[in-house]
Symmetry: C2
Subunit: 453 residues, 2 copies
């Protein structure tokens, strides 16, 4: 474990230890040990005056760092562009050619050094990354996470199906893909060097891009190594229909048979799952990365997050850079609220005829939890809220640019629910002032703090 200096932060603190449990401590102390873990959370009057303490200025609120369950790292340069075409065209014409260019290691390193600080600037302390098919680029992404101090899962993308991938950007064979994936797991573990900061993730891109042999081999690799798995699941009408046509069963069932639906497996999107599949996901312990902004462009419908949660499915949020148009987890949290209203009420016509599903609305507390503890729990990390023993992954939000809530009250006077709602609906990178990961300050006052290590 890399060492950090012990740190104590004094600030108003907002966190959500559970989906329905928001806690606001108007003047709290969080004491963090040299191992980067929280030792004590207490009221400020119990301060240990012998410890050096960082006191956040007025108008700041300390929240857990945000967890982004679905990021295509190589798509960073195309963020916010060309989202007006169907997924298959978007992949073939824009995305695969860009991803193929990461065979150039210098280019890859340059993008990673923009991407990782860019996400830290959004307050994203944990990211679950798809890298590319290239081992070297994958390894250098892990190195960038260590260098900039971001907690991450980093996955080499496995894809070998000649029908859905270009000749210059795929694994040469299933065996080659499995071997490279296994080697990449070791690469990432080597880069992490026992810090516990960066972990590997087995990454079959999505079933259409993978042969049965590759999917099956990666399922075996997951069982053998215990590494996390991520893939896309029933993202769109096309994707959902594809699986039924190819496998004679739904995408989730096929992935499960290949051994890929394991505890904490990240299933991205999953907009098309019937209740039966949601229940199967819940039983498996896998999770769904809800990507509300991306789903607007590619999802053919709104993911029923409230229904999934009610059925016991682990859910977190994903930006899905760059299928999602924005890099902010908070913006996706706000979008999760907004699209849940449209799912509830429908989009056009008379009440009851608008295509809506009553009872679909998410509340702001759930959205806040999804962005923090919900996402962490989904992938089996112990971050996401402030309790003794957990690593200190946190963001100091400067809320002074937000409207003053009411006369003679400041942000700290709001009740927890209203404060969470304001943060979800209004805050963004503009408000992210300081970021800590595992007790280490990795971003402060608008600039990143790269490690000398």
């Amino acid at each position: 474990m890399a060492s950090s200096a012990a740190v104590t932060v004094r600030a108003p603190v907002l966190h959500a230890p559970a989906q329905d449990h928001l806690q606001f401590l108007p003047d709290a102390l969080i004491e963090v040990g040299a191992d980067g873990r929280i030792e004590r959370v207490a009221a400020a009057e119990t301060a240990d005056l012998t410890r050096p303490t960082t006191v956040l200025p007025r108008g700041r609120v300390l929240v857990p760092g945000f967890v982004d369950l679905h990021v295509h790292a190589p798509q960073w340069p195309q963020l916010g562009t060309a989202l007006d075409v169907p997924l298959e065209r978007w992949l073939q014409e824009y995305t695969f050619p860009l991803e193929a260019s990461y065979r150039d290691e210098a280019f890859a390193a340059r993008v990673w050094d923009e991407l990782v600080p860019g996400l830290l600037a959004e307050g994203t302390t944990t990211a679950v990354y798809y890298a590319t098919v290239h081992r070297a680029a994958t390894r250098s992404l892990a190195e960038a996470c260590v260098r900039h101090g971001q907690r991450a899962f980093v996955g080499r993308v496995a894809m070998d199906h000649p029908d859905a991938t270009p000749p210059d950007y795929r694994d040469a064979s299933a065996a080659a893909g499995i071997e490279a994936s296994a080697a990449s797991i070791e690469d990432v573990r080597t880069v992490d060097a026992g810090r516990g900061l960066v972990r590997p993730v087995i990454t079959p891109r999505f079933a259409p891009a993978c042969t049965d042999a590759l999917l099956s081999g990666l399922g075996d690799l997951a069982a053998a190594t215990g590494a996390l798995v991520q893939t896309h699941c029933s993202e769109s009408d096309w994707h959902h229909g594809y699986a039924i046509e190819r496998f004679g069963r739904r995408d989730l069932e096929a992935l499960a048979e290949f051994g890929l639906v394991r505890p904490h497996t990240v299933l991205a999107h999953a907009t098309k799952l019937p209740d039966e599949d949601l229940d199967a996901v819940a039983r498996s312990g896998a999770c769904i990365a809800h990507c509300p902004l991306s789903n607007v462009s590619f999802g053919n419908g709104v993911f029923p997050a409230r229904r999934a949660l009610a059925r016991g499915v682990r859910v977190g949020l994903g930006t899905d850079i760059a299928g999602g148009a924005h890099s902010s987890v908070l913006r996706n949290a706000a979008m999760a609220l907004d699209v849940s209203r449209l799912l509830d009420d429908g989009v056009h016509g008379a009440p009851g005829e608008r295509g809506g599903v009553a009872g679909s609305r998410l509340d702001a507390t759930t959205a806040f939890w999804l962005a923090t503890r919900g996402g962490a729990e989904a992938v089996g990390l112990d971050v996401g809220c402030f309790e003794p023993g957990r690593p200190f992954d946190a963001v100091a939000l400067d809320l002074t640019s937000l409207p003053t809530p009411t006369v003679d009250r400041d942000h700290a006077d709001l009740d927890a629910e209203l404060l969470a709602e304001r943060i979800v609906r209004l805050a963004g990178a503009r408000n992210v002032e300081t970021v800590w990961v595992a007790g280490r300050c990795v971003r402060s006052a608008g600039s990143s703090v790269p490690s000398g290590r």
Copy 2:
């Protein structure tokens, strides 16, 4: 006309003179006269070296200032909160009590001095404001706009219906409401003092809050004074049904009979208008303030912006602070794109059964135009794009925090459409560096530049 120093700005310039016409000038000069109007737009190599020139640093793009057609100024303190209740409860329990407190002039002035710079920080150079029923608070809002240099329409809210408004927050009678509205028009014109910066707007809140006598009297006032009119129109199922029950006709028809649907009248929301009404709006020359973020909470459906534009309706964007959860016009432009996708495709179920209306998608160029020239044209202002004779209302966006688009290219190398899409989807207050209104720099490097006048 208040004097401004002549100014010349050199920068990459992006603007949309028409809905389907985006223009990108990678290295342009805009020369602005002492009257705040553009004298010349030209390629940089034709620079008049005798004029002092502001050269924007690398990574900046100059765009027209954003136009917000629908802002409830007194709701600023509740921005981003309590959006989880139906409109009628939201009004009675949260909004009317807050608005009533603006009888306190000191409180009002304090909020305006936060609101107006807050919107300038979002790049909003023109705002169409609902103030409150109070003449003094309305006048002081106009004063704040002059003080901070924001172009605005400022309207005293008229409302007198005892069934839909609280006793402590309404006009005492229709006659009192009409008289106060007439006086407020004069107040605002006095405050503007011929600058042409701040204009009055006749503001019957919405039909449910107004008696027939008030609506009719305000229609007469509009005809007599030529002042702009704004009101809400068929915002929700409830509002739409209310009009039919009370007037025996749809809301738009009733408003028209009262003389309130005039050229450039701002009809907020209008989510429930049938094509027949959209055609009537087009014929009248009135406009619709599309408030996509607010409509998610209160609109019972998505406003069909593309259909309205195709039928010749003037359309712009509104934040609808605080029924809309965010103060950014750009965020509403992005939301206009996103909800148009859901309107097109629907939210739940199989293709064709999801409640969608195929052909509803907006493109990013239209969204950019709506945020700028579209909004300006809607209310009859000559701002919103860069052409000789038009006032120079502009925003310098610092795009350096956005991902570098592709290897070895910077933002200025993107084609116009991609650049507009990135700005709509990714930019926000964080990127707003300098703001000019009528040639005067009103915000620079994160701080407002209040006038000494």
